[in-house]
Symmetry: D2
């Protein structure tokens, strides 16, 4: 489980603030995009998850550290790496990178819940297998 | 129907961009807040509309003109004025003001639709009466 | 000036609202991304504009019509087409498309201003030529 | 330093997502609004900080735990409590409350930096005194 998925994100005006840098909450948007592109690459679109597996992921908690700011027009790499996978919980490590340098680093705890009940359920076996099969 | 509703909005970093001013789409957020506070003052909360009247408002079109920029920490007044009210359509005029000066001006066309069907339905009579009763 | 630039945009949770569709102001974000990718393709990055030409574009006004809603996970095509180009003003037509269908359509009026003065200046000749040279 | 500042925030469509709840990054926006209203109450507007004290606060890191979701039209209370104050660093605890219940809880580490240099500087004495003087 050492594989790292990378999703590129361009910074536009909408992501910045008057301090001249990317607004601190915008990084959470970038990380969300990367997580769903990672799931898509594993064959799990939102549609697959909700309709076929009647599940969604909820974020239980996250922590993020900001080292250096991104600015307008930066082309960032947003990474996703599985740190731990339980029955219904998954822990991801995500980084915001610019040319090999890490601008911010986050740990995201998500939980697999029933799309209707919002109660924790097991991560679907096919998805678990895909995640565990990632080369380390 | 000359009455003008006014809702105050403070500008925070989240509303600005690296150009040093309020991001152009943020004004649409400010205007949405004013519209729902106006409806609330008329006795129509989101809950009243969806549960009691099984209706929501959809935006069909809008146009906005930007005259002068708002900046961080500005305390703005967002206005709502009914221009025209049809069976299911309503036209609003909204302004973004700072100390009597108009920074931006918009016309918003909304339509009353069934909360489930999303098909146009008549604006509920009690709401129409409240809107038409506003002093001119 | 009939050439149409197309920029793909994926819809994530961050772009939607509890009505089950894309939030109406999110389309303005999508259109901004397409405009800056169009300028980039013409050789004008934000950096080129600000540092080499000491200019930025400001939005003077825009109007948008919503026909049908986009939803989570849609892959949209955002178009940019020059409608008119004056000394310092430019009018663009932008569409939000999904599989050949138009979900929303907008007209955007921008003006070229000095990056420091924010006063209207001529659109730089190389950029004007690039825009006018686009095949029709 | 046990005093708790409370800032009310109404939830609009713009804060929600198609999952039917408040989008997870929106809570960071709510918390930012509360922090700046807290500083304003202490007599420190953005203007006072930047112009008179040549300082701004940067967020170094934050962690947030989500317990229960907020939904459209909720009236939330966002709290700010100082946990620790160093020479240039300050640690805040913030909660998102609805009718006495805690929906989310966060710890925010900020640092006082020169408005131009972005290098850590001492928190201005008058601000420090105001924060330390808060009843416990």
């Amino acid at each position: 489980m050492e594989a790292v998925f990378v999703h590129p994100v361009r910074v536009y005006y909408q992501d910045t603030d008057t301090g001249g840098v990317v607004y601190h909450a915008s990084y959470l948007n970038f990380m969300e995009r990367a997580r769903y592109e990672w799931l898509r690459e594993l064959g799990f679109t939102v549609d697959t998850m909700i309709r076929s597996h009647k599940m969604i992921f909820l974020i239980r908690s996250l922590s993020i550290e900001y080292f250096r700011p991104a600015v307008l027009d930066d082309l960032l790499d947003i990474t996703v790496k599985t740190v731990e996978i339980g029955r219904s919980r998954i822990t991801l490590q995500q980084q915001i990178m610019r040319e090999q340098g890490t601008l911010a680093s986050a740990t995201v705890h998500a939980v697999c819940v029933g799309a209707d009940t919002l109660k924790p359920i097991s991560i679907p076996a096919p998805l678990r297998q895909k995640i565990e099969k990632q080369p380390s």
